[in-house]
Symmetry: C2
Subunit: 761 residues, 2 copies
């Protein structure tokens, strides 16, 4: 199953489908709106976005405190080029007024384009066939193409627009979407050489230019003219009798990524690429994706719907991820305006591992982005009163902290550890010490340093007070387990890399030391801190406590909380939520996933049992982790249930806000659920381990992974088959047992098998 | 010393003097600005305010969470009527340009007016004498009078204004002052009967009317005319040769307090009271104040400066306090715009006790105000997710929570206990069960109920999680000692009053029960909660812990913190401050002051020693309490040092922001420092106790107090003399020993005496 199809039109889910059918390439994203538009009464978010392009707005407070961010970065909705109106003998085509049949829209994961076609009957009873195809090019990142094909006997009029009255979607009642409608001002419209429609705009405060150049190629001589030059709405009008095929070439470019004026940049691109027809561009797209899928596909045998969900996730991740080292992957990718185009720690914990597995070059770009924002993180650390080290932001585009509600935002110091974790995992996966020298070491040293700043010794133990862990329903706490354990890891690896570089690349180390003024005594401090890191533990329950006080809190009345009151954050004051043992998302359980070697087996299972009961999964970062850890604990039914929630979250709009964009971390979580969940994959210091099981309704599954210069293929069905496709033989563990993989390993399936009796999955 | 005098003009302290020389009567307040104005380069806050008069503005958030206040109440600066310009032979009089001598300005505490006079020499060398006197009437609350007397041989021109272009003072860098400049719009100006200047305005969002009616009485026929009718600036122009005396009668009234249109209200008042000349009004003022001082004076013998500070405090408290049951006493009284006219828990803990001691009728009005806002507090409790009870706001005018930064605001649940404490103390002081029936019981039951909502049992103890205590440098904590102990008191007294009323006034109880749907089982819950209230204690230090985790926090680097970094809140992010053992103001120490019977002697002293070291006193609510408790612990030198800080805080502008208004809680603290500090006064369940000492530099001190229908006078010098001026004999304790007071008690002074050797105070 290589596609997402929808064969009937439900006006209520239109904004959701717009997110699902988004086309993007990591730079440019276009929501899947109908070219011909909608009647006014229907909600639609007609969005066009550029990753990393932003305006600054004043952060609003009625009682501003010291150090609160002064400004926020916001991703503007750009000029719209997806609008194409069709008139058949003067009647405007609309699926909402007219009658139509054989409606179908499809998003192709393997070919990288979308298609929408239908038969249309005019009020006079004349029949037409209309097909839109569109793509956002992976090969030329500025390029967005629409092809419209109309078959009709009578008079056809096509109006193809560029619209410059941009505004963003706002919702006063949901803190998760933005609240500034106007970020961009139209600047100019012009016509070059009588054929190139050029529109530019500027962000209001950052004064960045953005432009769209549009060129049309028509199957016939049908151009009536281009109107709206010097106006914020331009339109090219085509008229003919009989059939027509029109290709609209749109090149978006922006002044943050390019020095060159956007008009020239856009014109160059259009001129270079408009010689190729739509199908030729499609072929380039297919070639690009063939390579991607060759390395990154996760095959599910025997369950088409799941296969669809998994591939949808991988495809949307590829569409969303910034690949230039200047940009990252936003919480909603380029599929919507939720969280305003901001990057979060979602990247390192939920998404980066997917790319690390099979697309290390993309993974590196994500890490390079973090390295490039060190200066912002350094400044933020000073704002927060730390004399050394860096403090990465909760939400950002350029690296600047944009969170205005610090208890659930800036207080999440664990993000420093998460980013360090990303670099460390990348090193463990690919063994690239050179990358650590160039990018990783500085980040790992600087984040490690901050733990020395924020933590302190109390009764011989290293404590971290007054932070918020991943769980945003429990804020400003002392010794959040997740934070402390990831700090420990961060510190330990800072020391390891320090010693390793001293031995392997002293010159590189010296350069970093000089740059960040690191002194030997700090390394000693780090050793002392991680060796004595306090990890709160409950001796009775035999679990790590989410924080010092979590288990002393009152119980939330889950039975008395109706479905309509979820997510809690939209129905309860933070003070209410914080007071109870109720959590939004995996926290201690997530720590046990990421850093299982810091605890005992029994605590992992106990923690799962305990925390699961108090988790609402109101965050989309939760179900995938609980699923993975259910696999880990041998709760196969649960694992599969969580997986179903994960894989269908956006497809079924279970969180109710897919209209604001896809939950990109959860897309990553879907892939992780298979590899880290079902296959039990983990990266250890000296090798990798697997511990696979297979859901009963599947015939098996298969994925590729790259490990320190090797290409491996893992196939799980009745047995586990691990094949070394490229590279030297290696030692690995399966079900805890050591194996040498030379060419192929075939190991019987433990745990739940396809035909196992222990469950009916 | 019955006055505050300033005999030279320092432009830098003008805004501070404006606060110090404010005239007010609890309804209307006028800052002490120069009638003739200032050159543009000088900062001045030309303020006229009505207590409880407000506009609503939208509360601003960039990431608003559920339940955050939508709007904020703000006290507008009203139309200005204090401007009077003088021209001598065409030369405008200004102390900043001209030459002058014998300048003196005086605020009289006993007579209730202020005076400013100087000799002036024109550039031509002609001499004049000018005197302004002004008063805000205690007898007619709308009335503000200015009298100007000019002695000059040549041509005199006087321009007397009403100015309608009102705006509030703003400061982007200080969260403690407001940020909306425009709250009021000028509406109309008119001239009635050719003599009454009438100006009205309206608040922008609440649409309340406010008006000022001005009438002039002149010693001569000198009126040239009145200009600016129908304009936002009206002026009456007087011209004569030789001397002149002009009295300006201004009546302010507002549409929140009156149904009647403000114009008619103002005209009625002016017509009724303008027959009396300035000196006759002064005489009425003197009579009012004579009665006040008879009951409320605190006499300090042998130290004029201290005497001045104490009387200044009492006088400003009287000027600031709302006396109508609809209004309260703002953090800055009516002396400035800091905290935007809002009422805080400062009232119950720092100010109410002063009025309770000697002005029980005013004290009752303050408590009635809280009773009148129960409905707002009920709604806020629901917003915060509590099914029953009330939650009083951190800052408010009408009772609505106006705090937009909940960690240091709304999270202060102790305010509920503070308000209950106010009612309970009032009962203990005056024994008025009828008042409890009418106002107190409902408040005490409803606040007690909320503790049942917010607290919970853990390991058999009643815990209160996730609140902020008085100390705003330590937010969102578990089991703040202050909160828990005041909750205990609140609960215990709810039960006591329930049982007492059941016995003494079952009908009144039934009415309350019916109104608030209180059930018997809740009383049982209350008993169980207070009997098992958890009070965090450190066995090693033998002190109550400020909260569960306070003593585990890192130490603040006080030595490395330069003076310029105080107050910390203007220089450090809340996350930084919260992480350390550093406190803004008395917290546990305040609890030990209010509720000393809940702890052992040794813990009180240990707590003082421990917490004093980590207290910055960045809040003006702190030094008075530390001073009182230093007396309590026998630290006489310290007690006196703290008292000096307290009594001079505004007079010396030690916090640097007296320009924004006087620190009214600290004014209360000044009086409390003498009565509760030096005299060791406490109200116990069945009697009162005293434990006086006398600072060495004083010859003694004396104050009056009312106790359950009695009038007592306490005089401390070489001995303690307690005289029963009115009422039945009573049992009381002095230095812990029981005495019967029939007429006069004379007891030798313990502790530090005037000529004691233990200190050089």
């Amino acid at each position: 199953m290589w596609k997402l199809t929808s064969s009937f039109l439900d006006p209520d889910v239109l904004p959701v489908e717009e997110s699902l059918h988004t086309l993007a390439n990591g730079y440019l994203g276009i929501r899947g709106c109908f070219e011909e538009g909608y009647p006014h009464q229907y909600t639609s978010i007609r969005g066009t976005y550029i990753n990393g392009f932003y305006d600054l707005v004043e952060a609003k407070y009625s009682e501003k405190q010291f150090g609160f961010p002064e400004v926020q970065e916001k991703m503007p909705n750009l000029m719209d080029a997806q609008t194409i109106e069709i008139y058949l003998d003067g009647e405007r085509v609309s699926l909402f007024n007219g009658s139509y049949g054989n409606y179908i829209r499809t998003l192709y994961f393997d070919k990288g384009y979308s298609e929408r076609s239908f038969e249309y009957q005019t009020q006079k009873g004349e029949n037409a066939f209309i097909r839109f195809r569109r793509m956002v090019s992976f090969q030329v990142r500025e390029l967005f193409l629409i092809e419209v094909e109309i078959k009709y006997e009578g008079q056809i009029l096509v109006k193809s627009y560029v619209k410059g009255e941009m505004s963003n979607y706002t919702d006063d009642f949901d803190p998760r979407v933005g609240e500034y409608a106007k970020l961009l001002d139209w600047k100019s419209s012009s016509l070059i050489d009588n054929v190139y429609m050029v529109m530019t705009a500027r962000t209001r405060n950052t004064d960045f230019e953005v432009g769209c150049v549009v060129y049309h190629r028509c199957s016939k001589e049908a151009l009536m003219g281009i109107e709206g030059v010097h106006e914020p709405k331009m339109v090219a009008i085509y008229s003919t009798k009989g059939s027509i095929a029109l290709t609209k070439y749109c090149a978006y470019s922006d002044g943050r990524h390019n020095q060159e004026p956007v008009m020239y940049r856009g014109l160059d691109i259009i001129k270079e690429h408009s010689a190729m027809c739509f199908d030729e561009h499609l072929e380039m797209q297919r070639i690009y994706l063939k390579d991607f899928w060759h390395h990154s596909d996760i095959k599910i045998y025997g369950n088409e719907l799941i296969q669809q969900g998994v591939r949808f996730s991988l495809f949307q991740l590829l569409q969303s991820v910034g690949k230039d080292g200047l940009t990252n992957i936003a919480a909603k990718g380029l599929t919507g305006e939720g969280y305003e185009g901001h990057y979060f720690w979602d990247t390192e914990i939920y998404i980066l591992p997917v790319f690390q597995l099979s697309q290390p070059k993309i993974a590196e770009k994500l890490l390079i982005y973090r390295h490039s924002t060190l200066e912002h993180a350094r400044k933020e650390a000073r704002v927060l009163g730390h004399k050394r080290g860096v403090k990465y932001p909760w939400r950002t585009i350029t690296g600047r902290e944009c969170s205005t509600f610090f208890p659930a935002g800036t207080a999440q110091y664990h993000i420093n550890g998460d980013i360090a974790y990303g670099f460390i995992q990348h090193y463990l996966q690919h063994g690239d010490l050179e990358f650590i020298c160039r990018y990783g070491a500085e980040v790992i040293f600087e984040t490690a340093r901050l733990w020395l700043e924020i933590g302190h010794f109390y009764e011989g133990k290293f404590m971290i007070h007054n932070v918020t862990g991943p769980d945003e329903y429990t804020c400003i706490v002392n010794n959040n387990y997740y934070t402390n354990v990831i700090a420990r890891y961060n510190l330990e690896w800072a020391v390891k890399f320090y010693r390793l570089l001293k031995q392997k690349n002293p010159q590189a180390l010296d350069e970093i030391i000089l740059k960040i003024q690191l002194v030997e005594s700090e390394i000693d401090e780090m050793v002392k801190a991680y060796q004595n890191m306090y990890l709160p533990y409950d001796e009775v329950l035999k679990i790590y406590k989410q924080d010092d006080a979590f288990l002393e809190k009152a119980q939330w009345d889950f039975e008395g909380t109706p479905e309509s009151k979820y997510p809690l954050l939209l129905h309860y004051h933070p003070l209410t939520i914080y007071r109870y043992q109720v959590i939004k998302q995996a926290d201690t359980v997530l720590a046990h996933f990421l850093l299982e070697d810091f605890t005992e087996e029994v605590s992992i299972k106990n923690a799962f049992d305990y925390y699961e009961k108090v988790t609402t999964h109101d965050s989309s970062l939760s179900s995938c982790i609980y699923g993975i850890m259910a696999s880990r604990c041998g709760y196969y039914e649960k694992a599969y249930d969580y997986f179903l929630e994960t894989v269908r979250l956006d497809l079924d709009n279970t969180h109710g806000n897919t209209k604001d964009g896809l939950h990109v971390a959860n897309l990553g979580g879907t892939a992780l659920s298979v590899v880290f969940g079902f296959a039990g994959y983990r990266i250890k210091n000296e090798s990798i381990t697997l511990s696979p099981w297979c859901p009963k309704t599947w015939n098996g599954y298969e994925f590729m992974l790259q490990y320190r210069g090797r290409q491996l293929q893992v196939k799980v069905s009745d047995s586990v088959k691990i094949e070394l496709l490229e590279g030297e033989k290696l030692q690995l563990k399966v079900y805890g047992q050591q194996y040498e993989l030379d060419k192929v390993l075939r190991i019987p399936l433990e745990g739940l098998k396809r035909d196992g009796q222990s469950s009916n999955i």
